[in-house]
Amino acid sequence: MSRAGLVRLDPNRLKVPVGYTEGMRVQGIIYLDEELEAFLEEGSVRQVANVATLPGIVKASLAMPDIHTGYGFAIGGVAAFDVNEGIISPGGVGYDIN
């Protein structure tokens, strides 16, 4: 059983549907199995959903199984924006640029 509002697509993927938070332009996908789902923080799911509201986001707001809450964007997050319509955000890279 997945937690409220999330949809398990398959053993390794969890969907954050459009509507999880207001203004999502695309869905969120978190790569996660049921075992690791036990560690999933509500705050990091919200961050995946929030990123999906940003202008020019393409396909989906993604997160990897090592997801945890970060500055604005979840750590373990991947988000791609169209070069003409999209944005760039320092929070999407973080403090430890490497």
Binding site: P11, N12, R13, T21, E22, G23, I29, Y31, L32, D33, E35, L36, F39, Q47, N50, V51, T53, L54, P55, G56, V58, K59, L62, M64, P65, D66, I67, H68, G70, Y71, G72, F73, A74, I75, G76, G77, V78, A79, A80, F81, D82, V83, N84, G86, I87, I88, S89, P90, G91, G92, V93, G94, Y95, D96, I97, N98
Partner: protein, 381 residues
């Protein structure tokens, strides 16, 4: 992340492990705000921000082949030092060539398991082999760049009327001057990180040759690959069957390009990009390889590490009264650290089991397992 392979087996280095860890700890500056042994002028720093690992090689730290085995050749074009604050310059000057603290580390490891023999062979990996993993980044320099540009972006988001559900998502349209400035500054920080890992690798080679009394050829300590995991890059991806230029943000995510990708060097073109995933200091790390499915689903990206389950504060509480270094030594891992606090924060229990994380990306098909590496000696900040 950077991984080095060698010609040596675990058995050959085991008797010298204590010396090795001591010498590495002495030769590679680590710890919070640690200062390096490089003495850089502002002009030197400007050059390294433009040239990244290429600067380090020109200064005599390593060779041209290292650059071929580094993402983007160890330097992204378009870094602009004129967009960097004096404060960032100042923090960066003394910290080039240092490991730092937190989750950064240098590890002597061995290949504990191979999942894909052909891929492992193509990367020069064999069972029981000694490897070295280096995890560090742009240190105080990149931290300052991020701090500076978050302020810029908070103003920019208001100016361009971007409504944000959380102010920490501060951003600007890619074509705006603010976004272009951030991108050029971020590239400088990425280049700083590549130069840093290149210098540290060079001193690691020297330290190993000294302790093990081997020639460079006998040691064979060559780079498998170096890949970033906190970066934004402009890349071309297929979206709904059409090629589209995108800014891909990877924050705690690793590029995992498939076989045939034009960004890969010739010797990895048929294989796909090596992906380096560190675990916590007590368990294991993994080598994977990028896949076509990652290209289709995740803009050519996969995970970057274990991910914490305890905050640093919780971990310190949990470690109270325990000697983490001794627990590790009892498990066959020698550890040397600038501070006891770091070891408490970084203990295994504070992290998810990396094997579980890697199994998810492997089963999902967004990268494939090649080898498991286990730590023998750890240098932490």
């Amino acid at each position: 992340m950077r991984l080095l392979r060698s010609n040596l087996s675990r058995e050959e280095v085991l008797p010298r492990m204590r010396d090795l860890v001591e010498v590495l700890y002495a030769e590679i500056p680590s710890g919070v705000g640690s200062k390096g042994k490089l003495r850089l002028t502002r002009q030197d720093e400007e050059r390294l921000l433009r040239k990244g690992a290429r600067w380090a090689v020109e200064e005599g730290y390593g060779d041209a082949e290292d650059l071929e085995r580094t993402e983007s050749g160890g330097a992204i074009e378009g870094a602009d030092p004129s967009l960097i604050s004096d404060r960032a310059f100042e923090r960066g000057r003394a910290q080039q060539g240092t490991l730092g603290s937190g989750n950064h580390f240098l590890e002597i490891q061995y290949v504990a398991e191979i999942y894909d023999e052909a891929a492992a062979a193509a990367m020069g990996l064999f069972p029981g082999q000694m490897t070295v993993m280096i995890h560090t980044g742009s240190r105080g320099f990149g931290h300052q760049v991020c701090t500076d540009y978050i302020e810029v972006m908070e103003r920019a988001a208001r100016r361009y009327g971007i409504s944000l559900p959380d102010k920490e998502l501060a951003c600007a349209p890619i074509n705006s001057p603010e976004a272009q400035d951030y991108l050029a500054a971020m590239k400088a920080a990425a280049n700083y990180a590549w130069a840093n890992r290149q210098c540290i690798m060079h001193w690691t080679r020297e330290a190993l040759m000294k302790v093990l009394r081997t020639s460079p050829k006998e040691l064979g300590l060559t780079l498998v690959y170096d890949v970033a995991h906190n970066i934004a890059k402009i890349e071309e991806h297929a979206v709904n069957g059409r090629k589209q230029r995108l800014v891909v943000h990877r924050k705690g995510a690793t590029r995992a390009f498939p076989p045939g990708h034009p960004e890969l060097p010739g010797f990895y073109r048929d294989l796909g990009q090596p992906v380096l995933i560190p675990g916590d200091m007590g368990r294991a790390s993994f080598v994977l390889v990028g896949t076509e499915q990652a290209m289709e689903e995740t803009f050519g990206s996969t995970c970057h590490g274990a991910g914490r389950v305890m905050s640093r504060h919780q971990a310190i509480k949990k470690a109270k009264g325990r000697a983490i270094w001794r627990e590790m030594e009892d498990a066959g891992i020698l550890v040397r650290s600038a501070g006891k606090r770091t070891l408490a924060e970084e203990m295994s229990e504070a992290y998810k089991d990396i094997s579980n994380v890697v199994d998810v990306v492997h089963r999902a098909g967004i990268s494939k397992k090649v080898a498991k590496l286990r730590p023998m000696g750890v240098v932490k900040g």
